[in-house]
């Protein structure tokens, strides 16, 4: 009884070889590139068994690999078939075990090994329905031919990875800055007024920049849409082009006196159109809102057939607006009424005018400010009966949750939006509250509420440790600005300009380090910089290093992904 597996050393060898052969058959998986097939011929052969490659002696142990049945097929198939070399891998490992398990099998019904070899055999085929003159455990040279490794492999580069970590570091830095501010205030080393004052000034500056971005974006969108419209209208007349240029001029000039051309609607023949009426109503609902001039309506008057259908979306956009998150609530009813009546595909509603937006922002800012002011005395004694230890622990946990749940999304929403925009025919550089009628992407762009909530909760419990109402108020105001508004700004900045994003990150890192140094001591600052280096460069480096070990296997056994034609989604 010839027996393979019983030789004392073989099992371990086979055990190891089995795993090694498959999991890292290639000791240097570095040269992975897209769709490399596993059996990387020369490498594997040479590395794994220098002596055994490509010329297996017709060993008695295995009939299989030696067999390339008739010369024709072997010569015909071998060159382009790397899996042949797969056997170069497997064969030696088996040979170490002594006689292979297959020797034990006679498979007499299918012809013994000798018989098979002497007879001229047809090449083996990977089919079950043919009765082939090969044993059932025959392993052909084509074995695992269709195996694919690391199909979607994408090699990371160092600097892009580091750049991607900046988002995390930015958020870490804001948390560090906040904690520093709290410690400084509670230790009475810093007047709370300075904290709140500085941050408020910075916030206002940030808001002004934000506002500017909105304005630019608006112009771009208008231009793009006009260009689109011109394309669709081309052929009707050259007049359309004039109207457009007029309008863009109007919009470009913020100082242009705004006129409400509501009268146009009623005088126009198109106003009898039932679609037009809700417009007028909604416009009159918000009469205080200045609406930019609609010169188009004149064009519309000249071409009544065009106007009724074309004006509506424009007018819709006049009233509804996504210009600022706080404005939404005002405009929502009008919007919904409109969208119900005018059965139009969601066309981008325009933001309210600049002044209007600014006013409403100011209003909500005032509201928050006064609410905080009113709440501060209550919050001051909120956790009076709780020990400080619990508060430290609680706030640590809350900040941890905040860090974990924060939406670090790397330009996903933007990419989506841009894609949609591209599909619609124009490119939109909307990173923030861009209108573009994309309610979903708008929502997506708000940082996840959980992280914001936890950050605010953490600051509330921390603030309740403070003794003076003014301190509480300052720290809360600071936290709202830092955790509520600043992420929005950061995100949009990152989208718009990577240079300023990096600059902001650097400034934040340095500022956080300085804060730690002055509020605590230089040990903490050192640790902070270490963390930044480790989290940015170190982690990227480790990730790149680990990529060598990526070994994703694909093959015909994977469930297929069904492909549907687009038609299905259209209806």
């Amino acid at each position: 009884m010839a027996l393979s597996l019983s030789s004392p050393d073989s099992p371990a060898a086979s055990g190891f070889d089995r795993t090694q052969r498959l999991s890292n058959s290639n000791p240097k998986p570095a040269p992975l590139s897209n769709g490399i097939k596993v059996p990387d011929a020369p490498h594997n052969g040479a590395i794994n068994h220098p002596n055994g490659s490509a010329k297996h002696p017709p060993s008695a142990l295995l009939e299989i690999p030696v067999v390339q049945p008739n010369g024709l097929s072997s010569s015909g198939r071998a060159p382009n078939r790397s899996p042949k070399d797969k056997h170069d891998i497997t064969l030696p490992t088996i040979r170490t075990e002594g006689p292979s398990p297959t020797t034990a099998f006679s498979y007499s019904g299918r012809g013994t090994i000798k018989e098979a070899r002497s007879r001229r055999r047809k090449p083996w085929r990977k089919l079950m329905w043919v009765k082939q003159n090969y044993p059932d455990n025959y392993t052909d040279a084509t074995f695992l031919e269709s195996l694919q490794r690391n199909v979607n492999f994408r090699a990371y580069d160092f600097w892009p990875l580091v750049y991607d970590t900046t988002v995390i570091i930015q958020h870490l830095a804001t948390v560090v800055v906040f904690v520093c501010a709290f410690i400084a205030i509670s230790k009475e080393r810093l007047e709370p007024v300075y904290v709140a004052g500085t941050s408020t000034v910075l916030t206002i500056i940030g808001w002004l920049i934000w506002d500017e971005w909105n304005e630019e974006e608006q112009k771009l969108i208008t231009k793009a849409q006009e260009a689109m419209r011109r394309m669709s209208e081309s052929g009707s007349s050259g007049e359309g082009g004039d109207g457009i240029s007029d309008e863009t001029e109007d919009l470009q000039d913020p100082s242009c006196p705004v006129q409400i051309k509501l009268a146009d609607d009623s005088t126009e023949p198109a106003s009898k159109d039932p679609e037009a009426t809700p417009m007028t109503r909604s416009a009159s609902l918000s009469p205080k809102k200045p609406v930019p001039t609609i010169r188009r309506s004149q064009t519309g008057g000249l071409h009544p057939s065009v106007s009724s259908s074309e004006l509506n979306p424009r007018k819709t956009r006049m009233n509804g607006g996504f210009g600022h998150p706080l404005v939404r609530s005002h405009t929502a009813p009008a919007l919904s009424a409109l969208s119900v009546n005018s059965m139009r595909p969601p066309s981008p509603p325009p933001p309210p005018s600049r002044t209007n937006r600014r006013l409403s922002t100011l209003k909500s800012a005032l509201l928050i400010y006064s609410t905080l002011l009113g709440l501060s005395p209550i919050l001051k004694s909120l956790t009076h009966t709780t020990t400080s230890d619990s508060i430290w622990a609680l706030s640590s946990w809350l900040f941890l949750v905040n860090l974990l749940c924060f939406d670090y999304g790397l330009s996903e929403g933007e990419a989506d939006g841009a894609k949609k925009g591209a599909e619609a025919g124009f490119q939109l550089p909307h990173g923030g509250m861009g209108p573009a009628g994309l309610g979903n992407s708008f929502r997506k762009k708000l940082p996840t509420s959980l992280s914001t909530t936890t950050a605010l909760a953490a600051s509330v419990v921390l603030a309740s440790r403070l003794t003076k109402t003014g301190d509480v108020f300052s720290i809360l105001l600071f936290s709202i600005q830092l955790f509520g508004l600043f992420p929005l700004f950061r995100r949009r900045l990152r989208y718009l300009s990577s240079v300023s994003h990096v600059a902001l990150t650097t400034m934040l890192i340095l500022f956080a380090g300085t804060c730690l140094h002055f509020v605590l001591n230089w040990h903490w600052a050192l640790m902070w910089f270490g963390l930044v280096l480790g989290g940015g460069g170190g982690a990227a480096w480790v990730l790149m290093g680990m990529q060598r070990y990526k070994n994703e296997i694909r093959g015909p056994w994977d469930p297929a992904r069904p492909v549907f034609s687009r038609r299905q989604w259209m209806d």
Binding site: A12, G15, R18, S108, D558, F564, S565
Partner: protein, 459 residues
């Protein structure tokens, strides 16, 4: 030489299914060949204890906890005492496990190795490598299979998959197909007229059976071809999608949903149709398309998993798992049926020669012959093999094997072998133990070889 074989699996009668019928048919044919077969499975409802099935198959329904879809709770050791009892009572030589998701099978193989028995394992399904469940199963499989004497897979693709999953030596893995009882799948005596083409779909209605593709393609096929009807058999979570599709496209008079179909009724449904449509996304073997072809249906199927190996190309139209391609393939099949260029009624005889359980049992027997010739390995060798399974897993596996061994020693002490009664065997059939003894077999082999070579020449 005849063996005492124990088939161990979670999946067995009364539950219907491919693994179940495979175990039953192979066992039955092995008994015909003079072996003794017992089947060990977990209890199904009040079906507990020992039962006999036709042909003297003895089934042990072991009371055990069932966790999910008739899989037993994976406790590594708790099955050992009763397993040892059964094995000793029945004087088992070979333990043959079925189905990689069966905890019973995996445990049984482990204990059998501990007791020094020969083991064999049949894998019936394909697994990916990406999701967590697969990774866990694959690790477990590596554990049990690293010490199994031989593995049987139902197709070559399945073999490749199993070799990768369990890190096996490909030469210890055989590919032996499933089969079908061809007399249960005869074509209709009076084939339905081809004025109206009927397309049959019989499968469990799950995502991986490609129900989404069916939902997408059926309305398009109905729109393209006037006289086409569909019959859909089977149940599952995707049935609701199909019903919605029917209502949305107002196809009530053209698509008939039959609901669950018992295996013995499959033929009656199939012979009502001309074409069998199989849109599965993954399939190790696809017995159902063989059954359909045997019933004289032209098969349209997606080219996934082991399916391309199963049927010759003149019986099938292959399609990519894409909506457009499937529609095109079905249209091709419809026009082929209408023009009469293919003769599906001839498929039955060809299938009969391709697949039979007798052949499967014969090939399985050869595997048994092979593993019975292997010397059983010492514990230390087994431990070495387990140790090679992974950095951490290897140590864990060694620990499990050692504990299993200690349990066996304890059981030998607590419940010695001599105190265990030996069960009386069902009278064995007298079989002349020569492969080519029965004249029909020889004929079949001859015919088959001739036919195959013909086909190859054509191809």
């Amino acid at each position: 030489m005849s063996y005492n074989i124990a088939m161990v699996s979670d999946f067995f009668f009364p539950q219907p299914g491919g693994v179940e019928s495979h175990i039953y048919q192979v066992s039955s044919k092995l008994i015909d060949r003079g072996h003794k077969v017992v089947i060990i499975t977990h209890s199904y409802g009040d079906r507990t204890g020992v039962r006999y099935l036709a042909n003297g198959i003895k089934v042990y329904y072991v009371p055990f906890w069932v966790v999910y879809r008739e899989s037993a709770l994976p406790t590594v050791f708790s099955f050992f005492p009763i397993f040892r009892q059964i094995v000793l009572r029945e004087r088992i030589d070979i333990v043959h496990g079925h189905g990689s998701l069966s905890a019973f099978c995996q445990e049984g193989l482990l204990h059998a190795r501990t007791m020094g028995l020969k083991t064999c394992f049949t894998d019936h399904s394909l697994f990916g490598f990406a999701d967590a469940a697969s990774i866990l199963t694959n690790k477990l499989l590596k554990f049990t299979l690293s010490d199994v004497d031989h593995v049987i897979c139902v197709s070559h693709t399945c073999k490749e998959n199993t070799v990768l999953r369990a890190a096996l030596d490909p030469f210890t893995v055989s590919a032996i197909p499933n089969a079908l009882v061809s007399k249960d799948f005869r074509p209709a005596e009076n084939p339905p007229p081809t004025s109206t083409i009927t397309i049959v779909v019989i499968s469990r209605l799950f995502y991986n059976k490609g129900c989404d593709l069916l939902v997408a393609t059926i309305p398009r096929i109905c729109a393209q071809h006037e006289n086409v009807r569909f019959i859909i058999g089977g149940s599952g979570p995707k049935a609701i999608d199909l019903e919605q599709m029917i209502e949305k496209n107002v196809l009530q008079d053209r698509v008939e949903m039959l609901g669950p179909i018992r295996h013995e009724d499959v033929r009656n449904v199939m012979i009502r149709g001309h074409i069998y449509l199989h849109a599965s996304l993954t399939e190790a073997f696809g017995t159902v398309i063989v059954e359909a072809a045997s019933c004289g249906l032209y098969v349209v199927c997606t080219q996934v998993g082991g399916i391309p190996e199963v049927l010759p190309s003149e019986m099938t139209v292959f399609a990519k798992p894409e909506e457009d391609d499937l529609v095109a393939a079905t249209s091709k099949a419809i026009s082929a049926i209408k023009s009469g260029t293919i003769r599906p009624e001839l498929f039955h005889d060809q299938i009969r020669q391709m697949y039979s359980w007798t052949d499967v049992a014969e090939r399985t027997e050869k595997v048994y012959d092979g593993i019975m010739r292997l010397r059983s390995s010492r514990l230390i060798d087994r431990l070495k093999r387990y140790y090679g399974c992974g950095v951490w897993a290897g140590k864990l596996f060694v620990l499990c094997a050692v504990i299993d061994y200690l349990i066996m020693i304890f059981l030998e002490f607590w419940w010695p072998r001599r105190n265990i009664d030996v069960a009386r065997d069902w009278p064995r059939k007298k079989v002349v133990r020569q492969v080519s003894s029965s004249p029909t077999d020889v004929e079949g082999a001859e015919e088959r070889n001739g036919w195959v070579s013909d086909l190859q020449d054509q191809g």
